[in-house]
């Protein structure tokens, strides 16, 4: 184990590898499968689900990129 640490530290110094990067895939699943949200109900303030869901999904995108940025900052 102790030998792994210097190796992984060295790797972190010269690469962008991080487990957190996998979070970037989340927004793709949330938005690129229209079957998930292609319907009108439930409505929100009279706006069909299709629209308010996708507007809300912007927050998923922002959160993912923000978390990856904060967690991989050096």
């Amino acid at each position: 184990m102790s030998q792994d640490i210097p190796e992984s530290t060295r790797r972190a110094e010269r690469s962008d590898h991080s487990q957190w990067n996998w979070l970037l895939v989340l927004p793709l699943f949330a938005t690129l499968i229209p079957m998930l949200y292609n319907r009108t109900s439930p409505e929100l303030f009279g706006i069909p689900f299709f629209y308010w869901y996708q507007l809300a999904a912007i927050a998923i995108g922002v959160t993912s990129t923000l978390v990856v940025y904060r967690m991989t900052r050096r």
């Binding site: 962008d16 927004p27 938005t31 690129l32 499968i33 229209p34 009279g46 996708q54 507007l55 999904a57």
Partner: protein, 548 residues
């Protein structure tokens, strides 16, 4: 030229337009450089923009005036499919997050100004670099022309017709871009984006209130699409349209940061963190774009008629005018003027950056590569400044002398052809597995497929009886019916998505063939550590030398 002009609107519009023009010229002194006669200064604003400037600049660059009029127009005409702009601009940032910081790093170490510069160094092929440069220029030109369509839509709604106002607007734009380079759109972007945010936020509060709420708005839209004979429209996606929706959003997202003007905005930023922060902050514009798309439904409820529509002759009119007309109907004149100016100024920022990006491609990858190999930095800057003028004149002629439809068709293909540079640029940032001639073969195959596919797609309308009327035989859209490929289905798919798949398969197969034939691969002058370099890194020189 000035019949039925709304004087108040036009006055407000003109004042704001004049104010940003002054800003454009003053920008040359902003964050003043010792010497503007260098491509890093004129073409990339000194490579030193921080998070805020970059946010305004890239936001102003990607969300163009044409987007602002065309997306709601699509929603107005077809409904849900037009909302693809939202998933498209959600997924783009997570997709490019890791890619762009690599591009930034290697470009900073080597002083690359264009994506083709990178391709040249990475794959050791001037032919491939030339193809990437030409692809970039061809994809960008019609996009610039379409910004004029955006301005024209606004002018029409204010009652101003004729070509003179557009020529004047573009001449001013050309002059301050020549003078100030990337600093001009960067400074103007602050005004443009502030105006857009104010206008859209006011619009989505005031207009639904006036129209009786969102219920009434979506009710009117549903009624319109139910009455319409087109099976493809509606407030949700028709079943078979889902595949096209997803592939269009995904394909467009892959294409966006391959456009030279997007890369210009990225390379102008100061360090890697500026880019990362912006990947999280830029979706604010996506939210505004989503709200803007809904203006298409508000226009339906408000009974907006596109300018030029004539029920008697069957003339459809200019659907790009629906948002300006909606503003005209819903807002007091002075605020409608502000709203029109927001769109009009919205055309200037991307038009400037696009012309700079196209000019840099010309200078770095054609002029320096083939015409003047020993060009000094000053000659490079001069060449780009002149090229930016030529590009704008070309765009102006494309709109005035040719049918604007030509530019719209070209821009449609533009997204598909720029996507064909993905293996050389984006995948090239990660691996050199592809052979340089394999990349060229893949590019050619993807281009050929893209043209063939869009050529097959007609533009159709439906008679009240539900019969299909073909308005245009070819280049009528980007959704390729899968029946064209021999599938027995009603599904369509984004042509660009298939084109890049064709490209990748050919790239891989051709690579294997060229390797087997022992055709020499190009030399890679980049080192793997350079893809992680940051601003305070010793590897990074302050004023990078030009690497050829």
């Amino acid at each position: 030229m000035f019949e039925d002009v709304n004087v108040v609107q036009l006055t407000v519009f003109t004042i704001l337009f004049a104010a940003v023009s002054v800003l454009g010229f003053v920008a040359a002194r902003w964050r003043r450089a010792d010497d503007l006669e260098h491509l890093d200064e004129w073409g990339l604003g000194g490579r030193n923009f921080g998070s805020w400037i970059t946010w305004f600049l890239i936001g102003g660059d990607l969300y163009t005036a044409y987007t602002f009029v065309a997306v709601p127009a699509l929603v107005f005409g077809a409904g849900a499919i037009g909302f693809f702009a939202v998933p498209y601009t959600i997924v783009v940032y997570p997709i490019v997050f890791l890619v762009l910081i690599r591009l930034w790093s290697v470009s900073h170490v080597h002083g690359f100004v264009t994506p083709a510069d990178f391709v040249r160094a990475r794959h050791g092929s001037s032919t491939l670099a030339l193809l990437v440069a030409i692809t970039g220029i061809v994809a960008t030109m019609p996009y610039i022309a379409l910004q004029l369509v955006g301005i024209e839509a606004v002018l029409k709604a204010m009652g101003v017709t004729g070509h003179v106002p557009i020529i004047v607007a573009f001449a001013i734009l050309a002059a301050y871009t020549y003078n100030s380079g990337l600093r001009a759109p960067a400074l103007i972007a602050f005004v443009k984006d502030a105006l857009i945010y104010v206008v859209i936020i006011v619009a989505v509060i005031v207009i639904p209130y006036k129209l009786g709420g969102w219920d009434a708005i979506f009710g009117a839209a549903e009624a319109k699409f139910e009455a319409s004979p087109n099976p493809g429209d509606g407030v949700v996606l028709a079943g078979p349209a889902q595949l096209q929706y997803a592939t269009l959003a995904f394909g467009s997202a892959l294409a966006l940061f391959l456009y030279p003007h997007s890369i210009t905005g990225v390379l102008a930023s100061r360090d890697r963190n500026v880019i990362k922060r912006n990947m999280a902050a830029l979706p604010a514009y996506s939210f505004i774009l989503g709200l803007l798309a809904l203006l298409g439904y508000m226009a339906i409820k408000a009974g907006v008629v596109p300018i030029g529509f004539d029920a008697a002759t069957g003339e459809a009119g200019d659907s790009n005018t629906i948002v300006p007309v909606l503003f005209d109907q819903m807002f007091p004149s002075w605020f409608a003027g502000v709203a029109m100016a927001a769109i009009g100024i919205g055309a200037l920022v991307p038009a400037a950056i696009m012309s700079i990006a196209a000019a840099n491609l010309w200078t770095r990858n054609i002029y320096v590569e083939y015409i003047n190999k020993d060009a000094t930095p000053k000659q490079e800057a001069k060449s780009s400044k002149l090229a930016s003028l030529v590009v704008k004149v070309g765009a102006l002629l494309a709109i005035l002398a040719l049918d604007p439809q030509f530019s719209i068709d070209l821009q449609l293909i533009g997204g598909i052809i720029i996507l064909q540079t993905l293996p050389a640029v984006a995948i090239g940032l990660y691996t050199r597995w592809f052979h340089r001639w394999g990349l060229i073969a893949g590019w050619a195959a993807g281009m050929a497929f893209g043209f063939w596919a869009t050529y097959q797609i007609p533009k159709v309308a439906y008679s009240p009886e539900g019969e299909v009327i073909i308005l245009k035989e070819h280049f009528g859209g980007s959704g390729l019916p899968l029946t064209e490929l021999g599938f027995d289905t009603t599904y369509s798919i984004y042509a660009g998505f298939l084109a890049i798949l064709v490209n990748l398969v050919v790239c891989a197969l051709a690579t294997l063939v060229f390797r087997a034939m022992k055709v020499p691969d190009g030399e890679d002058v980049t080192k793997s550590s350079e893809y992680f370099a940051d601003q305070d890194d010793p590897r990074l020189r302050d004023m990078p030398e030009v690497v050829h």
